[in-house]
């Protein structure tokens, strides 16, 4: 159920943004945001997004849960 190209494309995009390779081209990389450099803040934000997306994927019951519920009935 999690093995779809859409799911892993989204994860890939989030990871590409979470790894701060592009910040060295941005002049604001060393601006302090919430106590840390902007590139660290951005990386943490994308990490939180990966966690949130994972939790969102896990919100729906797995097929084995629905099967078990059906057999309980």
């Amino acid at each position: 159920m999690f093995v779809t190209s859409r799911v892993w494309l989204i994860y890939t995009l989030l990871l590409v943004m979470a790894i701060p390779w592009y910040w060295r081209f941005l002049p604001s990389a060393m601006t302090i945001v919430s106590g840390v450099p902007a590139w660290v803040f951005s990386s943490l934000l994308f990490s939180a997004a990966i966690s949130a997306y994972t939790a969102w994927l896990l919100r729906e019951p797995w097929p084995s849960e629905t099967t078990a519920e059906a057999s309980d009935e």
């Binding site: 093995v3 390779w21 840390v36 450099p37 966690s51 019951p61 078990a68």
Partner: protein
């Protein structure tokens, strides 16, 4: 600046003693709660464990003493770049998505106990299954040894007694506590004690966070100090470092999801919904643990200079003395010296450190014992052994293993196993095609899978033998995996798919 704690007084030692005694009591309760004298009951708690215990055992097993000592020390050495640790700890949960739903269902349908039970079911190849078991045992036995050494180090840093004797006493006493509650209650005792230890660990991280903010002030002030004094440790990573980030995320993400003790927790869940909800919470825990370790490291980097020093020896060579892994102890010492309240906070934090180390050690010990008993002894030495006999062998193997580890931990006192620890993921990740593709790709075949693992391991050992810790920023394990994957997929694609087994 001392990197040892102020020795605990009698009430403080009593608190730690009560905490340790409670683990043995829980082991006894696990013994009383056993349903049968069977392998499944001993290694997976029979019908399994519910949401909260599963969550806390997953958490306390995944976050070891290395998270507290290693991550803070690493941040001290490399600076903000260690933000990558939050990503790779999150990646472990992401890779669980590829494993957990199908593996959980199959484990319930076919009664899996060890990780390689799945491989045996899927590929029907005893050679592949045995190789996978040996690979897993070798990879995590080293991890177990590191936890035992860490137990000795923790006690050694706590007393004014002879350090060598204190280290040995710490290893022996804590290892005996682990093996006693494990022998009594098996997985049930391990999971229940892990639940206590997980809660203590979570509380410890929160206390640690409050302590460093109280002691050192704001994160922004620390960042400004580092920018002024060591700007290279604040700079955004370049291409080379970014590749290393990617390598860590993939290697630790896949390797961590393939920890045998983690796979057995998937088997041990008593319901799919409990497992699903546990993973849902686990996805956010790196932001509360690895992030706190990062903050502690940053605070130490700014406010506690001098843990890494250089001097010229008699031969005229520059020698670096690196004590960055003792950062946490140095922070604790400062808090202890500040107030009575601070002393007690450190006592709780020390309990959390013991919890982190012991909960990982007990899970790894049980996992190794299960693989040695079922996959090696039960498959190759005594195939007709009864469940009761195998359970007894499992308990004996735990004691033998603990005795060997105690001996090694005492003998290897003072040595660093960090490099060896890194290698466990290089090895474990070679099993990724067998598990991840084996679950989802019907055409995957045993021959190419086995050949891929052997080729991947060859690449890893060859690169390490030639002294290549990284190649273009990537770990040897990932380069081995690339070849492994190519052989496994191309080889399987060339074999008639009608002869393959349905993975379910």
């Amino acid at each position: 600046m001392s990197d040892r704690l102020v020795p605990f007084n009698t009430p403080e030692l009593l608190f730690i003693g009560c905490y340790l005694a409670s683990l043995v009591v829980i082991g006894f309760l696990g013994f009383r709660a056993r349903k049968a004298d069977s392998l499944r009951d001993f290694y997976l708690a029979g019908k399994g464990i519910g949401f909260l215990v599963l969550l806390l055992t997953l958490y306390s097993t995944q976050y070891s003493g290395n998270t507290l000592f290693g991550f803070t020390g690493k941040t001290y050495r490399v600076g903000f770049s260690w933000t990558m640790s939050i990503h790779f700890m999150t990646a472990i949960v992401v890779f669980y998505l590829l494993l957990a739903p199908k593996l959980f269902r199959l484990s319930k349908e076919h009664g899996f106990i060890t990780p390689t039970d799945f491989l045996q079911y899927r590929f029907g190849s005893p050679i592949l299954s045995t190789l996978a078991s040996i690979l897993m045992v070798v990879a995590i036995a080293n991890f177990l040894l590191a936890q035992f050494i860490a137990m000795g180090n923790a006690v050694e840093g706590l007393t004014d007694y002879d350090p060598k004797r204190a280290h040995a006493a710490g290893v022996v006493v804590l290892a005996l506590i682990i093996v006693v509650y494990e022998t009594l209650g098996g997985f049930r005792a391990v999971a229940w004690t892990d639940a206590i230890q997980g809660a203590v660990l979570l509380a410890g991280f929160v206390i640690l966070f409050v302590l460093v903010l109280r002691e050192f002030g704001s994160i922004e002030a620390a960042t400004n100090i580092i920018i002024a004094e060591q700007p290279e440790k604040v700079a955004a990573p370049g291409w080379s470092k970014s590749r290393e980030w990617l390598s860590y995320v993939l290697l630790v993400g896949m390797g961590g999801a393939l920890y045998p003790q983690a796979i057995q927790r998937i088997y041990a869940s008593n319901s799919a919904s409990g497992l699903r909800r546990s993973l849902c919470v686990m996805a956010f825990l790196p932001l509360t643990t690895a992030l706190i370790a990062l903050i502690v490291g940053v605070m130490g980097l700014a406010h506690i200079p001098g843990l890494i020093t250089q001097h010229v020896n008699d031969a005229g060579e520059i020698v670096t003395i690196d004590r960055s892994d003792t950062l946490l102890t140095v922070v604790c010492r400062r808090v202890q010296e500040g107030s009575l309240f601070g002393r007690w906070l450190v006592v709780v934090l020390f309990s959390a450190i013991l919890a982190a180390i012991m909960s990982t050690a007990d899970s790894v010990l049980l996992s190794i014992s299960s693989m040695l008993t079922k996959d090696i002894y039960g498959q190759h030495i005594n195939r007709s052994a009864s469940d009761k006999h195998l359970t007894l062998v499992g308990k004996i193997s735990s004691w033998v293993l603990v005795a060997a580890m105690i001996y090694l931990a005492i003998a290897l006192r003072g040595t660093t196993l960090v490099t060896l620890l890194d290698r466990k993921f290089d090895l474990l990740v070679q099993l990724a095609p067998a598990f991840f593709l084996g679950l989802h790709w019907k055409a995957m075949r045993s021959g190419p899978t086995l050949a891929g693992i052997i080729a991947g391991l060859t690449v890893v050992f060859l690169l390490l033998a030639l002294g290549h810790e990284r190649v273009a920023g990537f770990h040897p394990g990932l380069l081995g995996l690339a070849l492994n994957l190519a052989i496994a997929t191309l080889g399987s694609a060339c074999i008639d798919p009608r002869r393959s087994r349905e993975p379910g």
